[in-house]
């Protein structure tokens, strides 16, 4: 496998990981994060993200207090301008539904990201580690990844929903699994540059088991790219979860959910725009926020290693 191939697939629709994976040594995560948030961009991103997270977490409690309606209460007939943001397709209060609807997106996106990062890191480290002793495991993992990579993530999710029906768990699993090969490529590349280091070779010579080497020697040294991947996958997960709900294949009614809310209310965009605009803006602000942090992380990670090199 050529270096350029790796690079190709790492940058697959990310725009963020340029030059990150080729570096050799990485800083400890705590220091990286601290330095990242010295950047203005990261701080803005953090504020944006926190605002939306706060809305998602506090909204379900605040909504009824602010508007006087519970999530499922009927405030009037459908698509009327009653209340601050009007009513939705069933006559429920749009603002209350909006405030209550951030939970699923965040939760599912976090869970999918966790699956993708953990699975991808393990697979990538194993592949990278076994590459160095010429084991077939590397080929096996990476070729398996190639198969998964040959579907656009959303198309694979559609196929899964078609076969298994839509449920939150499935959503999380499918999106998480489609992240795995993408994360694995980055993790493998980073691992490759670590396993040649003296301390790893030494550990191997002393017969330290593979699991321990990976956990204590390799993992701490590839946290930089993994952090970047984490941010990136989180941003994409938010997009995919929301997109699937928007297509009507994700979160199901009568749950309050931003993607679903957009789906339910877009027929009346012209008369009752808030039912669409509020969730759209929230998702936009959230993904912009996480992406700004991720970008700052990537830059910081690259700079750090650049200095080290």
């Amino acid at each position: 496998m050529s270096a350029s191939t790796e690079n190709t697939e790492n940058t697959e629709h990310t725009g963020n990981t340029e030059n990150v994976t080729e570096n050799t040594a990485y800083a400890a995560p705590a220091g990286l994060i601290r330095r990242t948030f010295r950047r203005r961009q990261a701080r803005i991103g953090a504020v944006l993200t926190l605002v939306v997270v706060a809305v998602a977490l506090l909204g379900p409690l605040l909504g009824p207090v602010l508007t006087g309606y519970a999530v499922d209460d009927f405030a009037g007939r459908p698509f009327r301008p009653d209340g601050l943001a009007g009513t939705d397709d069933l006559g429920r209060d749009v603002l209350t539904r909006f405030l209550a609807g951030g939970g699923p997106v965040l939760l599912y996106a976090l869970a999918a990201t966790a699956i993708g990062i953990i699975g991808g890191a393990v697979a990538g480290m194993l592949a990278g580690y076994s590459h160095s002793d010429g084991s077939r495991l590397d080929t096996l993992i990476m070729r398996g990844g190639d198969v998964l990579l040959s579907f656009p993530q959303l198309v694979l999710a559609l196929l899964a929903v078609a076969v298994l029906g839509s449920s939150g768990l499935l959503l999380v699993l499918v999106i998480g699994i489609t992240h795995i090969p993408r994360v694995a490529r980055v993790a493998r590349q980073a691992t490759l540059s670590v396993v040649g280091q003296d301390y790893v070779l030494a550990a191997r010579m002393y017969g330290v088991p593979r699991r321990r080497i990976l956990a204590t020697e390799v993992l701490p040294n590839i946290t930089g790219p993994l952090m970047v991947e984490l941010g990136l996958r989180l941003t994409y997960s938010i997009g995919y979860v929301a997109s699937l709900s928007f297509l009507g294949l994700g979160v199901q009614p009568p749950a309050a959910d931003w993607g679903l809310q957009i789906n339910e209310n877009r027929i009346a965009l012209i008369i009752a725009p808030w039912g669409v605009l509020l969730p759209v803006l929230a998702i936009a602000v959230l993904t912009i926020g996480t992406n700004m942090i991720t970008d700052a992380l990537a830059k910081e990670s690259a700079d750090t290693t650049g200095e080290a090199a």
Binding site: D73, F74, D89, R266, I267
Partner: protein, 516 residues
Amino acid sequence: MISPTAAPFTRRRLLGGAAGLAAAAFLAGCGGPAAARDAGPPRRGGVLRVGVTGGGASDTLDPHSPATNPDIARTLSLYEPLLHWDDAYTLQPAVAEAVRPEPGARAWTATIREGIVFHDGRPVTPDDVVATFARITDPDDPKSGASQLGVLDRVVVAGDRQVRFELSEPSPVFDQYLAEYSCGIVPADFDVSRPVGTGAFRFEAFSPGQQSAFVRHDGYWRPDEPHLDRLELINFAEDDARINALLSGQVDAIDQVPLSLTEVVGSYESVRLLTSETGAWLPFTMRVDVAPFDDVRVRQALRLIAGRDEMVNQVLSGLGAPAADLYGRFDPQYLDPRREQDIERARDLLSAAGKPNLSVELVTSPIQAGTVEAAQVLATQARAAGVEIGLRRVDTSTFFSDQYLQWEFAQSFWNTRNYIPQASQSSMPDAPFNETHWDDAEYQAVIRRARSELDPAVRAQLVRQAQRIEFDRGGYLIWGWPDRVDAHQAYVGGLVPNRTGLSLSGYEFRKAWVAV
């Protein structure tokens, strides 16, 4: 759909694109409305372009198995049954000038209208009628019109213009079955590739899933009709696209404006709304043979939980009327009862049934505009009574898969029908679509008697009795009668409100004209 061929079955093909309101959409606010000009008096000539909901690649011109709205609209333009339901939902002669029962109602005789001709100019003969019914009830390939003709034994020629229908049991309402649009009369040598009927319009072109075109049938029997020279039916899978096409003047009329958007559409100066009361209903179906619905107290409790006015408001934007668990709104014997929401009594009933914290799963699907919304409203209302209704949303094809008629707690929709024909479709053990598995001995006895009772007064009394039984222990939760709202350009005339549940004056475009 007035066809007793059961809306539920035919709709399974309506699928995907026609998923109704739930499918949702954007409206383009632009589109220059044409200058408002009124229709004025009837005028001969012109073209009418109609946007029709739904349809798809499986669209057909078969007169006897129309499935989607565009299919039905085409069927009603090309073909005519012996009788037909008019705008007020009363029976009127069509291809037959009269259909009369013999004493005992075990046989009926239809007399073919004098001088009526097919599109190719040939007169309609008794042989054509016999062949038509042979085609519908072909045992190897029964058409969707066949299920309501179960009592029909044989059709024989009984004179120059007479056809005799011999039944296996007396049926005083058999003429109602003959009026279904899926019983259109076709020539004995009918071939669907050459779709010839007696309808007001002659076939010109057809591309499935897209559009069809028709031209005036000059030999049509109704004087002065059709007014139009040409009719074009255009499929629109999506609500927004259809409305957009109307507002931008791409089409002259559309069916089924989503009820929550009628105000917006109606605010256009150039557009007229056509609102029809209908006897259509969107019931919740509870299977009376499985727990917990085998306990009549549970069924009644759920019926008391439903706040019907609220459902009409939230689901139908107030465009409709509350119902009370009975169908057959326009049947002369319709009891028109009330059932108000009564959470306290519902709780009591559930406690008495030993299920104070009832938790059930409701299978919902966008099988018709408003079904998923109604399920959500019911679930919300149930929470107030401590009943947890979990929604399981499936897509339309899953809903009408093998499991259809097996769902324990689900939904359905039906169009206007009188009481006995409807009961024969959905509430009897031999009914093709007994969604609730309703199997009540007393009820069956009453309906069997009513079906063959010749004395109208006694029959009326029996029909009322049957309704009382269903009101007290049936498995349907019927919460409302949705209005049908269509829209057309101001320059389109002749389309009037229609009770059948079919859009745009029952898709009878022979009545329509366009002003210059």
